[in-house]
Symmetry: C2
Subunit: 465 residues, 2 copies
């Protein structure tokens, strides 16, 4: 267990209080089959289950009766075959005791427990199931088809309220992940040279995460095609003169994440054109750092970044017209089709499985349907203890440029003839994880991965290997 027993007891108490009544089911994850049932992907516990029940084994469900206060850890004990194949593990009883949960039940009795609650007209709360085996199981015990399952809004809201604000203990685990992320990123910068393949770099940095007992918090993006938001590494060798975008993070054994992006010059120095675009992105990054503080809407930080980006792209001759109108029309989204950032914590997009509308939005700030702004994952007012990413980027996406040009989309704000000459540019993104403090924000991670142009070029000049 990562934290003390009392931490988990208090979390469950508060969850009960917030949800008010009914039977709360928190599903742990099961093994996820890769190419046949027994060849599973590396086990990843569900974050919310971990947050309240602390235990990493597969095949567990946490049940909290919000009316009676009774807490149960549901799961089957292992047998001799399990011991032969997977080694001894704690009993379910011991795991429950460790987490301060008074009761245990075998999995076979859960259906009856739920059935009896439903028959008594009680509300059965569960979160949106993203694992399909849990969908099948829930569908069976709730007696509805997998497509008709109705997750509980009060439960979602309670979990979001609690998990959004990180405790000092959680921050310290995130900083552990950031330290490993630092090693991953600086290693990528050390290896970033013409001829080395994207897959090689991605493999080595994945190995660094794993050698610390971590996983990568998501599939590493290591690509010369920075204009593809999730560009997976290819077997192609790096080319002189291009940029390498590396977006990756570590996730500790206790499933706290890091998530950083750096865009490095494969030749060791940026070209004039790369400098011009890169500087806009790093200035946008710094602007977000200046503006982020409790009470500030993150959507407004995003829009201020878009304004600065538009101003500066006008200076370069890529955009034109009134900045305010261009941003209102979403013209900048040709270059920045995603949002400034997202929550981060036990999930690298924290709590995304609960529904972005519940995590990044509230009654005050509603989602937009405008292209670009509709990809903003975090919009609501920041609070002390939130962890968010600050990750502006500028991308030249040939297919999108062609589409907008053909349709005349936002043509009054865009100089397509100039934009056309950037089609082989790729993309730049700079991303850090920031903690909202009492009166501002700070970087997470003891060591800062270089990102200002002079720092990056200096790092690359002095690197070993």
């Amino acid at each position: 267990m990562l934290f003390s027993q009392s931490t988990y007891i208090e979390r469950r108490r508060r969850l009960r209080e917030l949800v008010g009544n009914g039977l709360i089911l928190l599903f742990g994850n099961n093994e996820a089959p890769m190419n046949y049932p027994a060849n599973a992907y590396r086990f990843r516990q569900d974050s919310t289950f971990l947050y309240y029940f602390a235990q990493h084994r597969d095949g567990l469900v946490g049940v909290i009766d919000a009316d009676s206060g009774e807490e149960t850890l549901v799961g089957d004990e292992i047998d001799i075959d399990d011991i032969i194949w997977y080694g001894s593990v704690q009993s379910v009883k011991d795991m429950a005791q460790e987490a301060g949960v008074s009761r245990t039940l075998p999995m076979s009795s859960l259906e009856e427990k739920v059935d009896s609650a439903l028959k008594n007209g009680r509300k059965v709360h569960f979160l949106p199931p993203y694992r399909h085996d849990n969908r099948i199981y829930l569908s069976k015990i709730m007696g509805v088809s997998p497509d008709s399952l109705q997750p509980s809004l009060p439960l979602i809201q309670a979990v979001v309220e609690m998990r959004s604000v990180k405790s000092a203990e959680e921050i310290s685990e995130i900083e552990r992940a950031c330290s490993i992320g630092y090693k991953m990123h600086t290693t990528a910068m050390n290896l970033c040279r013409p001829g080395v393949t994207e897959q090689y770099i991605s493999g080595v940095i994945g190995g660094i995460a794993a050698s610390y007992g971590c996983i990568t918090s998501f599939q590493s993006i290591v690509t010369m095609h920075g204009e593809v938001m999730h560009g997976y590494p290819s077997p192609l060798p790096l080319e002189e003169g291009r940029l390498l975008l590396c977006d990756c993070g570590a996730e500790t054994n206790e499933n706290y994440c890091s998530d950083h992006t750096r865009t490095s010059p494969i030749s060791g120095v940026y070209s004039q054109r790369q400098k011009e675009i890169y500087t806009i992105v790093s200035d946008c990054h710094d602007l977000a750092l200046q503006e982020s503080r409790p009470g500030k809407m993150y959507r407004d930080v995003h829009l201020d970044v878009c304004r600065l980006m538009t101003e500066r792209l006008k200076d370069l001759g890529l955009m034109r017209g009134d900045t305010e109108e261009a941003v209102r029309a979403g013209a900048h989204a040709l270059f920045l089709p995603h949002g400034l950032g997202h929550m981060m914590g036990m999930d690298v997009h924290d709590m995304e499985g609960l529904g972005q509308v519940h995590v990044g939005y509230d009654e005050e700030v509603r989602p937009s349907s405008q292209f670009g702004l509709n990809a903003l994952r975090m919009a609501r007012r920041l609070q002390e203890g939130f962890v968010v990413t600050d990750e502006p980027g500028i991308y030249f996406i040939p297919a999108l440029i062609d589409q907008w040009r053909a349709n005349g989309t936002n043509a009054e704000y865009l100089n397509f003839d100039v934009i056309e000459t950037y089609k082989d540019f790729g993309g730049v993104r700079i991303e850090d994880d920031i903690l909202i403090t009492k009166d501002g924000c700070r970087f997470l991670g003891k060591e800062r991965i270089p990102y200002h142009i002079d720092e990056v070029e200096e790092y690359m000049r002095n690197r070993k290997g």
Copy 2:
């Protein structure tokens, strides 16, 4: 595509012929959510889909009408959002054409196609779905609950018949995986020293696989607790005097696998007791190599290995009584609770998802229920072109020893007082991938990872780093 178009066309033709009639559905895999829907594990295509339809994208289904011969690749085209987030990929039409498939259809029309076949009383063939999303989808289009889905025996048998015999082209891809496996294993041997952690070694060798654009063919087993069959690496540092069991393999971008096990002395040399046990295992390994040839039942090779092991454990005073009777009673399974090996190919346990009884057994050789022998995955007669693992092991599993001793299981063949003194030994396994040739077998992989005691000790003496 790994092989020529005509290879895939011919494979589908033969499959049609073997199945005879009805509509054959071969499901590709979808993205598998890790901790929320958009954070997926690394995509792994289904092996059988790849074998017949060659394509790596998610969201595809191959349909073969065994009566009319019509072949269809079912899948949805990507849109501009997909291009922005994941880059351009081939269209479904292009993928179909490349694989020599004449028709494509969008996913929405598959249900109707299946529905019309069922209404016309035709058989709809599908394989056992191991991914739960495909189970849900199949349940919907077949109109039965997920638990009532009935996979097609003729389809399973046809696929097993075809995939069991590897072509020269397939062997060469497996040898590519073996070369990377060689690098992983020798790196593990280089790193195997007191103080280094299991997770560190596992991380570094995983990074090697990934740096070649591979994945590990299963979660690497790197453990001082060799007696746990699937002992995942711990954060514990290696200890002087103990053994490190490393069971790992690579899987190429085209999803052909390697699978080797070595058990190395952490101190660089084996102790006398370790030598005694290790030599039995390496002699068993060599015996299997001598005996494996077309026409030989792999169950008989397994049993001959068990006989040799029993003889030699008698010499050491761990077993006693008549060897033949002891093996018939399954007494040796206290030390070797698993089978000698399994098929290997595109799945590291090749085709295991189709059901072990169909892959490793036939009408002549039926599964046993005896402890130990019931874990034999490959029992039937070997054929030229089969790839199997040869992986004997000797383990001292404290919980199993206690159970057998308490129950008096096979007590007439076991000297429990002596066995008791080995409880801290751990386990030894040696595993290689072998190809059944015209008149015998050979190792797969250009370079042989050292495994005889003198070779291992020499390697460890001369290693760098």
